[in-house]
C-alpha cells in the first residue's frame, strides 16, 4: 500500500512539475522584457543582439529550449542568471529558500499557537462574549492588507517597545540560532497573524459542527469536563479543513511573502523571483517557480498522508 502511494505521489509530482515548468517557460517567453536587451543593456548593434540571442538559445523554438532546460534541471543544474552578476540559479535559490521555508514554518507554527486556543475558546460558547470578541478580531486582521499588518507590528514591537530588530536577516550559519530566531520573529509574526485569523475561523466553525455530534454528548454523559471534550474529542475530528488550509497556505507562503520580505528586508524566494522577473532574468524565474511548485506538491502530499492519521476511516478507504 505504502509503495503504491509513494509512486502515486511521485507521479503527481512529475506531472505537476512538467506542467508548471512548461507554463512558466511559455509565460516568460511572452514577457515584453526581451532577455537579450536585458543582457546587453542600452546601445548595441544588430549583430551583437543576434549573437546574444543565439548564446541564450532564444533563436531556438520554444519546445527545443524547454526540453534542453528540463534535461539540465533534472540533474540539478538550473542554469546561470542572464543578468549581472550572472550567478548560478541553483546557488541563489539555495540561499533564498531556507529564509522562506523558515519564515513559512515559523509563521505557520505561531499561527497554530494562536488559532487553536482561540478557536477552542470561541467554540466553547458560540455567540458568547469571547466568541464575538475573537470573531471581531479575526475579521479585523483579515481585512488589513499584509503590509499594514507588518507596519503595525514594526511600529509597536520594534519602534515603540524596541523588543525586536526591525529589519535584517541573521543566517543560522553566521550568527547562530538565537540571533536567527530573534530576527525572524517579527516577519514570522506578521505572516502568522493573517494566517491565524483564517485558521481560527475555519477551525471554530468545524468545532461547532463537531460539538453537535452524538459522540460529544456521549463523552459529556461519561462525565468528561468541557475541556476534555473540546481537546480530546472535538479537536481532531474538526481539524481536516484546517489541515487542508495549512497545506495551501504553506505552498503560498514559500513563494509569495514578497510584501513581508520587502518590509523586513529579507532575502527570500519572493524577492528573488520578483526582482528576477523585473530584470528579465527568465532563467532565474523558471528555476524559482520550479522549486516553489515542487515544494507545493510535496506539502500537499504530506497533508494527504496526514488525513489518514487524523481520521482512521480514511486510512482504510485508500
Amino acid at each position: 500500500m505504502t509503495w503504491r502511494r509513494g509512486a502515486r505521489i511521485l507521479g503527481e509530482l512529475v506531472a505537476v512539475l512538467a506542467l508548471v515548468s512548461f507554463g512558466t517557460f511559455a509565460l516568460v517567453s511572452m514577457m515584453d522584457v526581451d532577455p537579450a536587451v536585458s543582457v546587453l543593456g542600452e546601445g548595441h548593434t544588430e549583430a551583437e543582439y543576434d549573437e546574444v540571442r543565439h548564446d541564450l538559445g532564444l533563436d531556438q523554438p520554444l519546445l527545443t529550449r524547454y526540453v534542453s532546460w528540463l534535461g539540465d534541471a533534472v540533474t540539478g543544474d538550473l542554469g546561470t542568471s542572464v543578468v549581472p552578476p550572472y550567478s548560478d540559479v541553483a546557488d541563489r535559490i539555495a540561499d533564498a529558500l531556507p529564509v522562506s521555508v523558515e519564515l513559512a514554518l515559523l509563521g505557520m507554527g505561531m499561527a497554530l499557537l494562536l488559532a487553536i486556543p482561540a478557536a477552542l475558546w470561541s467554540a466553547n460558547r458560540p455567540g458568547g462574549r469571547v466568541d464575538r470578541a475573537i470573531s471581531a478580531m479575526t475579521v479585523g486582521v483579515l481585512s488589513l492588507p499584509s503590509f499594514m499588518l507588518g507596519l503595525i507590528v514594526i511600529m509597536v514591537l520594534a519602534n515603540q517597545l524596541g523588543w525586536f530588530p526591525r529589519a535584517q536577516w541573521a543566517r543560522i550559519g553566521d550568527e547562530g540560532v538565537y540571533q536567527n530566531l530573534y530576527h525572524a520573529f517579527l516577519p514570522a509574526l506578521t505572516i502568522a497573524l493573517a494566517e491565524a485569523a483564517m485558521f481560527t475561523r475555519v477551525l471554530r466553525n468545524d468545532l461547532i459542527t463537531t460539538l453537535q455530534e452524538d459522540f460529544v454528548l456521549s463523552a459529556r454523559a461519561k462525565g468528561m469536563t468541557p475541556r476534555q471534550v473540546l481537546v480530546g474529542d472535538a479537536l481532531r475530528p474538526s481539524s481536516l479543513s484546517l489541515v487542508t488550509l495549512m497545506g495551501i497556505s504553506m505552498g503560498r507562503l514559500i513563494g509569495s511573502t514578497v510584501v513581508v520580505e520587502y518590509l523586513f528586508g529579507l532575502p527570500g524566494m519572493g524577492s528573488l523571483t520578483v526582482s528576477a522577473a523585473q530584470t528579465g532574468d527568465f532563467v532565474m524565474v523558471q528555476g524559482a517557480v520550479l522549486v516553489i511548485a515542487a515544494i507545493y506538491v510535496l506539502t500537499n502530499a504530506a497533508i494527504d498522508v496526514s488525513y489518514g492519521y487524523l481520521d482512521p476511516r480514511i486510512r482504510r478507504a485508500r
Partner: protein, 361 residues
Amino acid sequence: MSAVPMRTLQAEDRATVLQVDDLHTVIRTPRGPVRAVDGVSLTLRRGETLGLVGESGSGKSVLGRSIMGLYRSGSTMSVTGRVLFEGRDVQAMQAAELRALWGSGIGMVFQDPLTALNPVKRIGRHLTETLRRHQTISVRQARVRAIELLGLVGIPDPRRRVEQYPHELSGGMRQRVVIAMALANDPALVIADEPTTALDVTVQRQILDLLDDLRTELGLAILLISHNLGVVAGRAERVAVMYGGRIVETAAAGDVFAAPAHPYTGALLAAIPRLADPAHRRLRAIDGTPPDLVSPPVGCRFAPRCPAAQDDCRTAQPVLTDLATEARAGGSGDGVLNAHRAACLHPNLGAEPRPSDQGVR
C-alpha cells in the same frame, strides 16, 4: 448470567434509586415555550426496568436527559420539579457534581451506536477515559478493566477490539461498547434512550437480552426508553406510557398489555403488526398527529385523536389516578408502585384490549 427471577430479590435490595416528582421541562423556542415534559413523576428501584414508551415527540428523550441533568435550567430551557437520584437532587447540583455523577452513578446508552462513538478514538480509549475520570487507577489497570468490560458485554476477542477503531466494528458490537461505557464505573442507574432503534431486529434482541442480564447480575435500575412497545414487552417490570409530555398510563407491564386502560395505549398496542394478521393487510396507525407542545389542546391531549373522546375530555385535563382494583381483570397488586394508573376521564376498564378501535386503521 443466570436469569434470576426478579421477585427473589430481597426487599432491602429494592431501594429507590430514582424518584422524579412533578418534573417540567420547558424549552424556549422562537415559536414560544415548548412544554416537552409537563408534570412527570416516576419511581425506579434497584434491579428494576421501567419501560418508558411513547411516539416521537412525546417528550421521552427530553425526560431522560432532564433526569440525567444533561438538560437543566438555563437560557434555552427551564427545568422545574425534583429529580432525586439516590436521595440527591440532580437538578440542584453544581456542574462539577453532575460531571462526577455522569458515567459513574448514572450511565447513558444512546440511540445510535454508529454516532455515539468518536470515530478517531480507539475502542479502548473510550472505556479507559471514563474509568480514569471516575476512579484513581493507572493506565494499565484501566486497560485491563476495559478488556474485562468488553468481555462482560459479550464482545469476542476483547484484547484485539480495544485496539480497533469504531468503524471496524459492526453496529451491534458498537452498541455493546456503548453499554460497556455506561457500565464502566458500576452505575446504579442506566438510562437507555432507544438503545436498539438503529439496530436490525436480531441484534436488537441480543442487546435487550444483554441489558436484562446485566440488570439481574449487577442489580441495575434501567430506564428503558423506546417508541416500540414490543421492545419494552418482557424486559420491563413496569411500563409508563408517555403522550404529549405527560405520563398517561402506568402499570405493571403485564397489566398494560393485557388491559390497557388509556385509549392511547390501546391504540399503540393495536398498531403493532402481528404475524397472525392476514397478509397484505394495511398496517394500523393512529389518526392525526401528536399535539403541538407550544399550544397543546386544552383538555386531554389525546382527545383530538381519541375514538372514545367525549365533550368533557376537551375541557378537563385528566390526572393520573388509580384505577379501582376490583374493576381490574388481573391486577398484580404489588404495592403502590405497581398500581395501575391512567390519566383518562373514560378509561377502558374492560379486560380485553380493543384492537378494533375505530380510530385505528
